[in-house]
Subunit: 802 residues, 2 copies
Amino acid sequence: MPRETHEDRSGAARPDAYRRAADYVAAALIYLRENVLLTEPLRPEHLKPRLLGHWGTCPGITQVYSALDQLVRERDADVLLVTGPGHGAPAVHANLWLEGTHAAYDPALSRDAEGLRELSRRYCAPDGFPSHLSPAVPGTLHEGGELGYALATAFGAALDAPGRVVACIVGDGEAETGPTAGAWHSPKHLDPETGGAVLPFLHLNGYKISSPSLFATMSDTELTHLFRGYGWDPRIVDVTPDGAGGPDRPDRGDRGDRSELADAVADAHTAITAIQRQARSAEAPDPRPAWPMIVLRSLKGQGAPAEVQGTRIEGTFHAHQVPLPDVHEDPEQLRALEAWLRSYRPEELFDEEGRPVPEVASHCPEGDRRIGMQPAADGGRLRTPLDLPPLAPHAVDLGEGRGRTTAGPNEVLASWLTEVVRRSAERRDFRIVSPDELASNKLDAVLAATDRAGTWPVDGYAEHLSRDGRVMEVLSEHNCQGWLQGYLQSGRHGLFPTYEAFASVVDSMVNQYAKWLKTSREVPWRAPVSSLTYLLTSEGWRQEHNGYSHQGPGFINNLITKKSTVTGVYLPPDANTLLVTMERLLDETGKVNVVVSGKHEAAQWLGLDEARAHCAAGASVWDWASHGEPAAPELVLACAGGIPTVETLAAARLLREDLPEAAIRVVNIVDLCALAPADRHPNGMADGRFHALFGTDLPVVLDFHGYPSAVHQLLHGRPRPDRFHVRGYVEEGTTTTPYDLLAANGTSRHDLAITALAHLEDRHPKARALAERHAAHRDALRAELRRTGVDPAEITDWRWSA
Amino acid sequence: MPRETHEDRSGAARPDAYRRAADYVAAALIYLRENVLLTEPLRPEHLKPRLLGHWGTCPGITQVYSALDQLVRERDADVLLVTGPGHGAPAVHANLWLEGTHAAYDPALSRDAEGLRELSRRYCAPDGFPSHLSPAVPGTLHEGGELGYALATAFGAALDAPGRVVACIVGDGEAETGPTAGAWHSPKHLDPETGGAVLPFLHLNGYKISSPSLFATMSDTELTHLFRGYGWDPRIVDVTPDGAGGPDRPDRGDRGDRSELADAVADAHTAITAIQRQARSAEAPDPRPAWPMIVLRSLKGQGAPAEVQGTRIEGTFHAHQVPLPDVHEDPEQLRALEAWLRSYRPEELFDEEGRPVPEVASHCPEGDRRIGMQPAADGGRLRTPLDLPPLAPHAVDLGEGRGRTTAGPNEVLASWLTEVVRRSAERRDFRIVSPDELASNKLDAVLAATDRAGTWPVDGYAEHLSRDGRVMEVLSEHNCQGWLQGYLQSGRHGLFPTYEAFASVVDSMVNQYAKWLKTSREVPWRAPVSSLTYLLTSEGWRQEHNGYSHQGPGFINNLITKKSTVTGVYLPPDANTLLVTMERLLDETGKVNVVVSGKHEAAQWLGLDEARAHCAAGASVWDWASHGEPAAPELVLACAGGIPTVETLAAARLLREDLPEAAIRVVNIVDLCALAPADRHPNGMADGRFHALFGTDLPVVLDFHGYPSAVHQLLHGRPRPDRFHVRGYVEEGTTTTPYDLLAANGTSRHDLAITALAHLEDRHPKARALAERHAAHRDALRAELRRTGVDPAEITDWRWSA
């Protein structure tokens, strides 16, 4: 936990000296492991063996950090910084070290020469700080390794935090990404009354790894048009030096204690508070406030040598990563490095013990106001568990009988969620994000308790839309994901219902977020944040109408490649199991979970207490659906998912009629990862329990909601996995009827019965003929539905009978 | 293949009548299966049993289609239409039927009542046309089911097609997506001299499924600013009616034979040709041409009833899908439907046989100029195989000895690709897309043969940048993917080298594209297009410096969930196998392929002829690396991927020293899908060959480049898959050294040797002690690298010895 350290703040702050110090330290972190303050001539043995970190973006990051420091000092602003260019980590570390946040978190990183040497040794060392930002870095809630998500994340952190200013640095490389391009629309969803502000800095230093950036080709007029068009009030600040290279020059407009950028930040803050004051007062609020944003034109890698050995460095993409890569072997590059480092005049910036001189130290805010100490960056500390309402009033009563009572699982869930939304109304710490699909997914009952968030006025018809709504609908899974990440990471709660097939739009975002969570667990001071839960609905089996593009259960496959300690996949077979699952996950921390649920009216199988027991077990034998000798089954019919449960139970009925003398056990799996061996997934069943369900050498016909490959990989490590005959979606799809879609993929009740019969042939000679009959019947049904265009009544009217 | 059909074009074209006819047909396709021309009163039995298709966007699509028809007729423009809102398929089908394209492709879809009835019966029927667009629809190269990718795809189709105008409808829902928001920057990469034009229509009808769209909240000024900021010259056209609902009203500005939209399209075309003329003449071209784009404000679902039973329909989101969903049971809705359909006055639009009257038919372009007949939408017909240069001049000679000769695989490939680029210079039908990583991935040698494409001037330093360059770098995997898809689908060739970890950014795009390819194979008239090949490089094992975010091999896992007939995964272990693989894939059609290759200098294993044999086999025993009795091994060491090959061979050497008496076989796998049973993947090895490599009950230690789960799922269906002990990336990562990263994931040479020894213990009692020694040594190496910050020389200097 953070602790205070001594600092000498007796001198007046000198922002220019502060930035020189931060740039020096950032460069030192990249190159030096000894002689970190250049108290002696630079020799090869002072260099790190590997030179990592990206210099190019560092000076610009420090420009922003330094200007934000001034804002905090002068106005006591509550600033959270989201740094998009995570490869500019040296600059962030430099600022954290100078302001003493590093020392507060770890005394070994003290604000003196020893602490700097230790920081430099840790930066990019095994077991140290990685080259990019990471959960191990205080004040950080965004890694910035995969570019594109900083801006939406920043908005998520600003929602429902009316006093917070989330500053967000967006590199001009990152700005080329689609997700960032779409995230600029976010203010249209940010309520200035109940929410905080996002102050973006488009860091326009002109170059990516080896090319100019797209934004570098745009004129000030075009940039102004673009951001005005998005709805912002852009301010262009140019901190490139007037003259030729060298870090000594004052910034353009640096007037003693202020830079043009600091002025622009102060001015932006004034505009932000004006918007907020108006929105929070009795005055009529501006219906479409133009929030300030800053385009920061800087010189790429400012301070690096202008040219070395004929290659232009400062101000070109050659400054992007490590500008002088051959310092180990090339004495000329080593000399250039020393000249570069000495040009910051470290001897003026640090005292004899290596402590920042008062003019530097005084620039930083103090105590908890230091940007690195921002508590929202470690949102688990701010998190209060949700006040979850009891399930019972919302649960489905099996009054019409098991399998004969029907309900729409999502509608049942929505009834409970409505109460979750109500109970969180005062704290405003629960939100639902969704790509315009809440109504389509039959979750719109929650709109009785809150509206959709929409700040800008609509010149036309709309329903359930208001500025302070807590449902966020936008046709951008990227925005939904980014907003929710920022919201959860800053200590709140949420849910992401979405079309199953299109969840893969954010595959890469969830990859990165799962990595963030996994690493967070390894950082002792981080408190866990609420789990991120997807409700995958409009599932492929009932997208028979929308067709092939809408049939894709692969999000599960991607998720289970992540670390098993941070992932879960749940397939509740009915409404009550869905309720129990959601109750658990909305109370959980530190994971990414997928819940698959259908939106259509469907048969209900378990009472609430049964559902609790089933979900706690992860998978259970459904005795009431099994037949024959319970202790000695000949075959297991297993299922995971709503539609597979129906088809499996229908197949079980067929088999009971076919072979009343056979012993068939039915197992339902609600927690998919329970299938994995216990040493591979924390939810994995112990061997004994696994064998109690599936035996050790029984044939198992397992009908799975998604791709069979997901089950195959989870079963690896279980004995004799080849006895599991998994059926699922095998990419046969189009617009057709539900039964036809099942049959095309070999997952209809008849296909399941046929598969089971094939494994019963040895003991039941008539099984082959029975299977042939089912195949003929299936084909007849498919022929019939081709004539009528709808599924036969035999399918649509089917109900379970015990 | 398309054939001509009769049409009566004796009347002067009446665009308003044409649009009435198209809107009528679109509505009929949604609702009717009999009485399709309403020649008798509408009765429930005329209705389709299921009502599918999205009405809301249909009238707007027809507005655009109709205006483009006029452009084609008046100026003989060569128009390809990319329709983003694929759920507006009824409108597209209506236009295709009216212009006779449907009849040309299938005489049963003749332009008369019988043909319309057949079309209506097929639309959304099993085995018919799906509810969205699909490869079965002539003139279509984009499905439009998952929204976001139309615009980038359109640009891909326009590249290097100087005579083509690619019109692209972007719905205002789709416009909210990040990928679309980023794609608006595409003109900065489109050369007006060598390329065609993209004419986007932002279809602003104001609503998504249940909410207003973001763009609906924007004023004309904001829209103009936004698109000017992106660099476009926007024109806002409002075709919403002045008065209240009803399809009878002339469009605003409809003046007999022209609408305001047709004028705007003509005007835009004039602007396009002016930009192109200037760029293609001796005059100085406009360095930043502002291409025209059209914002089309239309009334959502125009023509639908204004209000039914108290619900507003026309002009609201209630018109998004099927406006009157209860026509089967509700007589009032049925009456409203009949009134709606009759309001188009079909009796004026179709003659007694149901043929479009001359005023309607004459509106359409003729023959091959019909928009649906655009050959680029069936690009396989335009495709000419690449002129691939011989490999031999570029191949690595194993002069220093097998495993002792080193080369950088990507650099070797780049040398060959440079020649591919040169040979395609005249035809301009090969491009490389990459997110600013060509140099980082050591493929920049190709810049000797072409430049990076950049149209807008750069006010600063740049290298290898020109308007007509054929390398397209942008920090947006979405744009890269969309551009390449459009380029391939319109008959050209390309390659997509990218950072392995970030390929998942386009998981969902490749999902949809794989579906497109799979369905295309089922459409008899479609000719196959060039395969889409990713070169995944900067692979995770050598992203030890960039850290955890850059380590993610999951793109493979996603790809292998797709239909096996359209996917391939290749892991060439060295430069020559990479050359052979690429030669094959650049000549292939109809698939999505992943090739994983390292960019670092690495040991070379096979001569060119050996590489050819190895790649043809998919996997082979490497006898020279095996030891002991070749026919009766005790264990197989298998490997797939560049780094795994090195570690496996090093492990084989350790085992030879440990247990010279043991028989160890080494197998290298270059075609990952060869592991799958032959009935599950077309590349799958026959059983005999599989057993010849891996035996039937031998233990196999398989070191895989990616997640072990990818191999586990492919092996399903092989006998005794549990004897395969797969090592790979298990999400243990940070910034560290290469060896430490391997060891953290249990894939170092020592871990492989330890795993192998565990399976040799029964026959070789000393195996356990040997394994303990390797474990201790591994731990000592990790301790050493923590001290020094770099891998021990024992690792970095290791070379294979026979």
